[in-house]
Symmetry: C2
């Protein structure tokens, strides 16, 4: 193999680190990959750290100790984040999105990979320090957003099912009142899915009265798993009291058939962008 | 802003291109980002193309014409792909995964972001040339895999729902026979979701008798959308005749309570790795 130059090493390293967010790579891993000395790789990483910081493209963290190395914590510049969230709010304002019964059509936003990646990365950025070892959501609409968040955190995703599914083995089932229908529903999670898991981040698409998030919290309580946080893509502006703070990206102030839905970026995103 | 060096430019470019697979960036975009001349950026890209190719980390394609520029087509080296797929096959062989009724427990594999990213990237790699403008799946288990595929293709994901959901507006509903239960079921898709869409890639988690894939094809037929291909994570070894080839990553040869499930990587992955 041709000996590779610094710019080549650094480019390939970004690709490798980005493909596995929050995973620790030893310096030896890169020494072997590029047939280079440890001091050379250290310098590469230092340069990489600076360039990513300069463009607000995430952080390279050095982890010391026996299992030490470097890991990539994905990030997006606060101004760019705010712009993306504002763009989504504007798209959602279209009056034709309001459906009979006061529902909002959001499937296109929730299925757009660039929006999901941005949103998932931003949400994950608020929870690296809490060290969740998995993300939980309940089917169906929140799955893609929860997956994007789990991906950025480098942890697995568990999906609670509505009703009981025979092909997932022994499962715990709880009842909850869904805010969107006001009806009593059930959600189930296979015991096996959370074996050896201790700390969960709860993710959902939309929070109205908080019933679904509360249901997921109850489910985690039954498994003795600690809820380190909760996040949703959109919450209604009304006050909801839950035993955990729920971080939203967008706040829905109002919805009506005439004027459409009025959404705005959450305060913490505005604050981050202005500081 | 401090003038940035080649290694910095190249590293930041990888980060930007990777975050938006298959999206065209003009050279001017990077000229502005780095305050650099077009000839300099061209050289950067040429070097980047070579280093990514050298490590089998995907391709940078130049698109000519008025809307021209460069785009990143994610890829994974065939040997590494085969290794990841073999690893998943081995994990699935554990006898405790076989549940009553001959179901296989797969939720952990289907929720692992690194496996999903690899699998989604590999699947996408087979369909860039077919230029689908969206990916379709049906809830629930295939969503994360479909999302990973859509992400690598740089196109949106549409999710057909089982039963009818009031909050998605006017929808088309078809009946199909699910291979896993043998029962008649319905799937629905909001008309709005496929507005202006013409070419679809169908993705699902598991193919037994092909009923679900056929159902998605019927649904697309009703919307006059062309099915450019179909892919599943796992298919049973038995012969299934469908009007479209279904590309699988893993083939399930056998499943029994005593011996567990025997899965192997699909032939085309073996061939790609040995050539």
């Amino acid at each position: 193999m041709e000996r590779i130059k610094r710019n080549g090493r650094m480019s390939a390293m970004v690709r490798v680190l980005m493909a596995s967010p929050n995973r620790i790579f030893t310096l030896n891993h890169f020494c072997a990959m590029f047939d280079a000395a440890k001091s050379t790789i250290s310098e590469d990483i230092e340069l990489l750290r600076n360039v990513l910081a300069q463009f607000g493209l995430g952080e390279i963290e050095t982890v010391t100790g026996a299992a030490g190395g470097v890991r990539y914590l994905p990030g997006i510049a606060p101004l760019e984040t705010l712009e993306t969230v504002r763009g989504a709010c504007n798209r959602l304002r279209d009056t034709t999105r309001v459906l009979p019964g006061g529902y909002l059509y959001v499937a296109d936003i929730f299925g757009d990979p660039e929006i999901l990646d941005t949103f998932g990365t931003v949400m994950a950025g608020q929870f690296f320090a809490k060290e969740p070892d998995f993300v939980l959501t309940v089917e169906t609409r929140g799955i893609a957003f929860a997956m994007a968040t789990a991906r950025a955190l480098g942890v697995p995703l568990a999906i609670a099912r509505q009703g009981q599914k025979v092909y997932e083995g022994p499962q715990m089932t709880i009842q909850y009142v869904s805010g969107s229908t006001g009806e009593l529903q059930t959600m189930s999670l296979a015991r096996r899915t959370v074996r050896d898991r201790r700390r969960v981040l709860i993710i959902d698409d939309f929070m109205r009265a908080g019933g679904t998030v509360r249901g997921m919290m109850d489910l985690m309580h039954e498994f003795s798993i600690e809820v380190v946080g909760a996040g949703v893509m959109i919450r209604k502006a009304s006050e909801v009291r839950l035993p955990v703070d729920v971080l939203a990206l967008m706040v829905m102030e109002d919805i009506s058939g005439d004027k459409g839905a009025f959404l705005r970026p959450a305060e913490w995103l505005e604050q981050a962008a202005s500081s």
